[in-house]
C-alpha cells in the first residue's frame, strides 16, 4: 500500500509491446497433423496443460526428429487471456531448434524475459505472471510424453512460488542466511510472492499446501532454537563442565536457567537466582534462591526443583544437585 496503489492499475498498459503484438498476431499459433509428421518422418507430440475451468489451458504440438531429439517445429493453441496467448507463442518459438532436454530448461521466467521490450521492465504486471507458468508446465508435459516418463520426474525441487520459480530449499536458505523476518523481505530477496501473491498465504488464486508465511515462521523458529543452543555451547566453552573454570560454570548454568527455566517460572510471576556452585566430591551443588511467587509455591521443593536439576544435568552432562538456599 501507499501512493502507487491508491488508484487501480491500468493492467493492459503494463503489457510490453511484444506481449501486445503477440496477443494480436500470434506467430506460432496453429496445429500440426499426423500426416505432416508422417511426411517428414518426425515424431508428433501433442501435450495439454491446464483446464478451461481454471481460466487457462494450452495445447503444445512438437515435431521431433527422433535421430537427435531436436524439436523441428512447435505450435500451440490456447484458451486464455492476452498474457497466456503471448507467452504460449513465445514459448513455442523458444522451443524451436532445441533438443528436448534443452527445451526442458526453458522456464516461465525465460519466456517472460524474452517478451520484454527493455531488459529491466517486466513484460507483464505481477498479477499476470501466473498466466505464463502454463507455458512452462506444458513443455514438461510434452517432454515427458516424448520420453515416456512421468512429468514429476522433471520436478526435482518443490516449487513454492510458481511465478518466480522459487523452491522451498532456496527460500529456507535465503531466509536463514539473511535473518529475514517478514514476507516483504522474503520478496525483496527472492522475488517469491512478488507476482500473483497466491503463494504468500491461504486464500489466493491457486490452491496450495505450503505458503511463504509457513516457511518463514518455521525457519524463524529454527533460527531461534539454534541461537539458543549456540549460546549454551558458547557458554560451555569446550563443553566439558567438569574442566570449566568457575566463571565458565556459572555462565553455563545461567544460560540454561535463562533459556529453559525462567520463562516458565516468570509465567507464574516467579523467578530463580543462581547463588553459587560448590564442588562436593564428584557432585556439583548448584545453590539457587527462589524469588517472587516461587518462594511460597508448594511445588518449589518437588516438581520445580526436580525440573531444574534434570534440565541442568541433561543439558550440561554433569552430575548436578540443585539446592535451594
Amino acid at each position: 500500500m501507499a501512493r502507487d496503489s491508491l488508484i487501480g492499475g491500468a493492467l493492459w498498459e503494463e503489457y510490453s509491446t511484444e506481449v501486445q503484438r503477440r496477443m494480436n498476431t500470434p506467430v506460432h499459433m496453429g496445429e500440426i497433423t499426423q500426416e505432416e509428421a508422417d511426411a517428414t518422418g518426425d515424431k508428433l507430440i501433442i501435450a495439454d496443460f491446464g483446464a478451461e475451468s481454471c481460466g487457462d489451458a494450452v495445447r503444445l504440438y512438437w515435431l521431433i526428429d527422433p535421430k537427435n531429439d531436436t524439436i523441428q517445429k512447435s505450435k500451440f493453441k490456447s484458451f486464455g487471456c492476452g498474457t497466456a496467448i503471448a507467452s504460449s507463442d513465445m514459448m513455442a518459438e523458444l522451443c524451436m531448434g532445441k533438443s528436448v532436454d534443452e527445451a526442458l530448461k526453458i522456464t516461465n521466467i525465460d519466456v517472460e524475459k524474452a517478451l520484454r521490450d527493455t531488459p529491466d521492465v517486466p513484460a507483464v504486471p505481477g498479477q499476470k505472471m501466473h498466466c505464463s507458468v502454463m507455458a512452462y508446465d506444458v513443455i514438461k508435459k510434452a517432454a515427458s510424453m516424448y520420453k515416456g516418463v512421468d512429468m514429476s520426474e522433471f520436478e526435482t525441487e518443490f516449487i513454492i512460488c510458481e511465478c518466480a520459480r522459487v523452491s522451498q530449499d532456496t527460500l529456507r536458505e535465503v531466509i536463514k542466511l539473511n535473518g529475514l523476518t517478514t514476507v516483504e523481505e522474503v520478496t525483496d530477496y527472492t522475488k517469491a510472492g512478488g507476482f500473483c501473491k497466491s503463494c504468500i498465504k491461504p486464500g489466493g488464486h491457486e490452491v496450495r499446501d505450503v505458503f511463504i508465511v509457513d516457511i518463514l515462521a518455521d525457519v524463524m523458529r529454527e533460527v531461534e532454537a539454534e541461537k539458543a543452543s549456540k549460546k549454551i555451547i558458547e557458554a560451555r566453552g569446550n563443553g566439558d563442565f567438569k574442566s570449566m573454570g568457575l566463571v565458565q560454570k556459572i555462565k553455563s548454568v545461567e544460560s540454561i536457567l535463562e533459556e529453559y527455566i525462567r520463562p516458565t517460572l516468570k509465567a507464574d510471576n516467579g523467578d530463580v537466582e543462581l547463588m553459587d556452585i560448590v564442588e562436593e566430591g564428584e557432585v556439583f551443588n548448584v545453590l539457587v534462591k527462589y524469588k517472587g511467587e516461587c518462594i511460597s509455591c508448594s511445588m518449589n521443593t518437588t516438581t520445580t526443583l526436580a525440573g531444574i536439576e534434570d534440565m541442568l544435568k541433561f543439558k550440561l552432562k554433569a552430575p548436578i544437585k540443585v539446592i535451594v538456599t
Binding site: P26, E31, T33, D48, E52, S53, H205
Partner: protein
C-alpha cells in the same frame, strides 16, 4: 467510432445534468447551513432536488431519503448500524444476504462475521436470482436484517423484492435492498413494495460519481455512520454537496420520466444485440429476458476467455466488462456464473454488455460485427476449438 457498453459499471453524465450542476461551483457556492445569502440561495435548488428524488422513488413525506457519497456508503451504513443497534446492543445475531451481492455488501458482511455476527449467504437459482421462499426459510427469530439486491449488476436479473419485502414484514425483520442497478432502469415504487432501507447511486443513471443515497422508511432509527454537524437532520453529517445533489435530482428525473418509452427503446436494442449474438454457435445468455433489466446482457462464449475477448473488443474501440468492474483487477472466475451453476468451463467466458439510453442502433450493429470477428479470431487460437487432438494414453 468509440462505443461504450459498460453502463452497469458507470454511465456518461447527461449533458443536461452537467449544465444544471455548473452554477453551483463558481456562482452559488455557499454552504447551505450558513445564514447569509450565499448559503440560502442554494436552498431552492436543493429543495427541487429533494422533490425530484422523492417523486422518482415514490417515497412518502414521512420517509427519509438521505444523501450519501455513494451506494457503498449507504450499504455500509445499513449493515454496520443494524449490527450496532440490533446485534451489539440488542438480542439479534444474524444477517441474511445473497451470495451475489455487490462487494460493498459481501465484504462488509465478512467484516461483521469477524465481529461475531452470523451471516447467511443465500444461493441463487439457475436464473441467477434468490427465490422468496429461500429467504423465508433462513430467517430465524434472531435475524436482524435481510439485505437482497433489487437487480444484479452482472446478469441484470431482477429479484422478487415485493415478495421478499412481504416476508420480512410478516417476520418482523428489517429489509434492505441495494437498488443501484434498478433505480433509473426499472420502476422502483416505494409505496408498492415494503423495504426499510434502499441504496442507490447517481452515476448508474447518468448522474455524477460521488453522490448517492439511502432511503429510510418512516424515518426509523438507524445510528449514523458519519457523526458531525447537523446536516441531513443529523443523520448523515458532512457539508451538503450542492452541485452533486442538484445533478442527482435532475438525473433521477430524466431517468424516470417516460421510463416505459425509454426502456422499451433500450430493450429493443438489447434484444437486437442478443438475438444477433445468439446466432453464434456455443454461446449462451444468462437469465430470461423478461425478468432482466432492459439494458443488460451477460453472454458466455465457449472456448473464449473473457479478458481475451475484452482485449479484442477494446481494440475495436468497444468498452465492455467481464463482470463487476470492482473485481476486474482480480480477473477471477465470474462469481455469478459459478453461482448459477453454469458449466465450470464457462466460468471464465462471460462478457457483460450493458446499454444506456444514449446507445444507438448503429453502435449496436457495429458491436455485433466486432463481436463476431473477435469470437472467430479467438476461437481459431483456442485449444478448446483445436482440431488435432492428442492421441494419448
Amino acid at each position: 467510432m468509440e462505443i461504450y457498453l459498460d453502463n452497469n459499471a458507470t454511465t456518461m453524465v447527461d449533458p443536461k445534468v452537467v449544465e444544471a450542476m455548473v452554477p453551483f461551483f463558481g456562482q452559488m457556492y455557499g454552504n447551505p447551513n450558513s445564514l447569509h445569502k450565499f448559503g440560502t440561495q442554494t436552498h431552492a435548488a436543493l429543495t427541487k432536488a429533494v422533490d425530484q428524488v422523492y417523486k422518482a422513488l415514490n417515497a412518502a413525506d414521512a420517509d427519509d431519503v438521505i444523501f450519501t457519497s455513494c451506494a457503498t456508503e449507504s450499504n455500509n451504513w445499513v449493515l454496520k448500524s443494524v449490527w450496532l443497534d440490533h446485534i451489539m446492543h440488542g438480542h439479534k445475531n444474524h444477517i441474511v444476504v445473497s451470495e451475489v451481492e455487490h462487494p460493498s455488501v459481501l465484504t462488509t458482511c465478512r467484516f461483521l462475521e469477524e465481529q461475531g455476527v452470523k451471516v447467511t449467504y443465500l444461493p441463487v437459482n439457475d436464473q441467477g436470482i434468490v427465490e422468496a421462499h429461500t429467504v423465508k426459510s433462513f430467517i430465524t427469530d434472531r435475524t436482524a436484517l435481510v439485505s437482497i439486491m433489487w437487480a444484479n449488476n452482472e446478469t441484470g436479473m431482477i429479484f422478487p423484492i415485493k415478495e421478499i419485502g412481504e416476508i420480512c414484514r410478516e417476520k418482523g425483520v428489517l429489509f434492505h435492498t441495494d437498488a443501484v442497478q434498478a433505480v433509473g432502469k426499472i420502476p422502483v415504487d416505494l409505496q408498492a413494495v415494503h423495504v426499510d432501507f434502499l441504496s442507490f447511486s447517481a452515476h448508474k443513471f447518468h448522474g455524477p460519481k460521488g453522490i448517492g443515497g439511502l432511503y429510510i422508511r418512516n424515518s426509523q432509527a438507524l445510528s449514523p455512520l458519519l457523526h458531525g454537524g447537523e446536516h441531513m437532520g443529523g443523520r448523515r453529517s458532512g457539508t451538503l454537496n450542492v452541485p452533486y445533489i442538484v445533478g442527482m435530482g435532475l438525473a433521477m428525473e430524466l431517468a424516470t420520466q417516460n421510463m416505459s418509452a425509454t426502456s422499451a427503446k433500450i430493450r429493443a436494442l438489447r434484444d437486437r444485440l442478443e438475438d444477433a449474438l445468439l446466432q453464434l454457435p456455443d454461446v449462451f445468455v444468462v437469465g430470461n429476458r423478461a425478468n432482466r433489466t432492459p439494458n443488460t446482457l451477460l453472454i458466455s462464449i465457449r472456448g473464449v476467455e473473457g479478458e481475451g475477448m475484452l482485449w479484442d473488443l477494446n481494440n475495436a474501440h468497444i468498452g465492455a466488462s467481464t463482470g463487476s468492474a470492482c473485481a476486474s483487477e482480480d480477473l477471477e472466475a465470474n462469481t455469478v456464473m459459478l453461482a448459477i451453476g453454469a458449466d465450470s468451463e464457462l466460468a471464465h467466458t462471460g462478457i457483460r454488455l450493458s446499454l444506456s439510453r444514449f446507445t444507438t442502433e448503429a453502435e449496436v450493429d457495429a458491436v455485433i460485427d466486432a463481436f463476431k470477428k473477435a469470437v472467430g479470431r479467438l476461437r481459431a487460437i483456442s485449444s478448446s476449438y483445436a482440431k488435432v487432438q492428442p492421441t494419448h494414453s
